[in-house]
Symmetry: C2
């Protein structure tokens, strides 16, 4: 594999593309779906629309399968910035929308610690 | 909304994070699920594992819901580079894995034209 990452396109189709893990495991293992991920996704999508942020050149809020950072769950990631979040409740989602998706300022207190993976 | 995009983290958790739209509509509208998106996702995931590219610091191949660029479907996107692809068959997926995910060189002929959205 190449060791460097190609820089992102100067004008990505979405300025910020948010992916929420909505994975639900039924085998007893921890999964984001156990932590109201669907409600967080729905709320984020609604808030982004209400703020007029949704669409090409702006923000897209997306469903995703397991992002494989389950130890930090529930998680969401914002690309192309590659900012990973965990959240407790809808107030956290509001802060991500307001500060980061609208204001461009990542919410430091909600970032996933770099070492946390599966 | 802010007008600029925060640069991606210098070392994103995944060097390349690939999202396949697996959306399947049942209302007659075009959706990526009509074009063997699941088979393409499965094949990509298998090839990435076989090449030893899978994991933190390397490549993650992910399921996603509708990416809202249905006119170009089936689509997949590679972040943080924000390179959007369309594909016809598993040979196209092999080329994306070999050239881009392994070699760092995007496959120009498979890129989604910038104007194509929903």
């Amino acid at each position: 594999m190449s060791t460097s990452t190609t820089p992102p396109a100067p004008s990505p189709y979405y300025q910020r593309h948010v992916f929420f893990c909505l994975n639900q495991r039924d085998n007893g293992e921890r999964s984001c779906g156990d932590f109201n991920a669907q409600a967080a996704f729905d709320h984020c999508k609604k808030r982004v629309k209400a703020e007029g942020l949704a669409g090409a050149g702006k923000v897209r809020v997306n469903k995703a399968g397991c992002l494989d950072r389950c130890a930090a769950g529930p998680v969401a990631v914002v690309y192309p910035e590659a900012v990973w979040y965990t959240y407790l409740d809808l107030t956290d989602i509001d802060e991500i929308v307001e500060s980061h998706l609208k204001g461009g300022q990542p919410v430091e207190r909600l970032r996933v610690p770099p070492h946390l993976g599966r």
